[in-house]
């Protein structure tokens, strides 16, 4: 029993069929719990008022925007090294989700930034890097769409993903050099986050627990969507192959 068994599309679809309802239900439960808890049952911040509650969307979405790219990077590597088609399709399936997460992160950030910083947008390193990440997602998806041959497209996009990752990292540090920012550093996982001791430097435990739940919800949501989209891609490809076989017969 090894993980590569799931590189078999049939096995993958069968497993995904079993997993999908559970993951979806778990995602919905976590999201609803996290968001409702966060929006209605946490106190308002003494300085930020109710706007602090956008954190339950903003932080998980931003986290998933980066993690989706990481997942695409790993899937691309697997495709290049072991040439499992499911892997390439999973990378393809993850891209639009990651792009959407990036947009959610940017938009909620703008809505949060308006009352807090007095501006919708600032050329702050984190904001800028997310915008660049969004451009990378766009280019990646456009390349998938543009190439007709499936294997060629998978090869080219996976190399683009590798090169893009290096350049995204480069851009991250270049942008930090270019402008010091307005955005705060991460205050979610600071000292005391694990032990639960409340300190002033980190997000208060009152906000942290719903944030954690909603973060898990976003991860599960991403997982469910990737499974679903990968299944769709596999089935679409199979139906195309069947049609082609029928035509030639």
């Amino acid at each position: 029993m090894s993980i590569w068994e799931y590189a078999n599309p049939v096995k993958f679809i069968r497993t995904a069929d079993v997993l999908l309802p559970w993951v979806t239900v778990a995602a919905v439960i976590c999201l609803v719990t996290g968001l409702v808890w966060g929006f209605f049952f946490t106190p308002e911040d003494f300085r930020q008022g109710s706007t602090v509650k956008i954190i339950y969307l903003h932080v998980p979405a931003a986290m998933m925007a980066i993690n989706a790219w990481l997942m695409m990077l790993i899937a691309s590597l697997i495709w290049i090294v072991r040439r499992h088609h499911v892997s390439a399709l999973a990378a393809r399936a993850a891209a639009p989700i990651g792009a959407t997460m990036t947009v959610i992160g940017l938009v909620t950030g703008a809505i949060w930034g308006q009352p807090m910083w007095g501006t919708w947008w600032a050329w702050d390193p984190r904001l800028t890097v997310f915008l660049i990440l969004f451009l990378f997602y766009l280019g990646y998806m456009a390349l998938w769409e543009a190439i007709e041959d499936d294997d060629t497209a998978a090869d080219l996009t996976s190399i683009l993903c590798l090169v893009g990752s290096v350049f995204a990292l480069l851009s991250r540090y270049a942008v930090q050099f270019w402008n010091q920012g307005l955005h705060q550093g991460s205050s979610v996982l600071r000292a005391g986050a694990v032990t639960g001791v409340d300190t002033t430097e980190k997000v208060s435990n009152v906000y942290f627990m719903p944030l954690l739940v909603s973060g898990i919800g976003f991860v599960l949501l991403f997982l469910a969507l990737v499974l679903l989209r990968t299944q769709t891609e596999i089935r679409a490809r199979r139906s195309r192959a069947l049609l082609a076989r029928e035509r030639s017969a």
Partner: protein, 218 residues
Amino acid sequence: MIALLTRDLRLAVRAGGGFGLGLAFFLIVTVLVPFGVGPQTGLLTRIAPGILWIGALLACLLSLDRIFALDWEDGSLDLLATAPLPMEGIVSVKALAHWITTGLPLVLAAPALGVLLNLAGPGYLWLFVSLALGTPALSVIGTFGAALTVGLKRGGLLMSLLVLPLYVPTLIFGAEVARRGAEGLAVQTPLLMLAGISFGVAALLPFASAAVLRINLR
């Protein structure tokens, strides 16, 4: 390799277009900027380094699809692929030829266009240096983009979408050198970073471009 380089250079010069077009585009962008932002010399002085860098970058981008497109159409790219020269070498030579025909003229013309934008005194030297260091990186990264989109119809627009995000680090450090130079600040750090990007990209990216080209020729 030298034969390939001279062939590419000769084609670029004799077939017309490639050589002058990028320069003309650079000139036009520079001329258009004051129309857009107004003729105040103070403002122009401040934005001149950035505008000149962006102009050079766009002019570079404009000529990228010529790197492989013609060779792809008439089949000479397939011949090159079967030649004893490794693909990485071909890609590097192509990038070099692109730099000589596009990047180098831009570097030489940029100080002259700086006059139009009222660039500050010490800025000329640093603009020249930063472009001379940075445009090779633009050519090499662009070759990667051109290799990705070589077989595609309407590949030009897609290539811009793919290449422009990759240009971000080069642009940041290049424009920073030019800006700091023009303002009389120390330029060492961004200059070193720019050089690092140029050399790093020239050393590593041809492997990716070659892999991509091999896939496209399959």
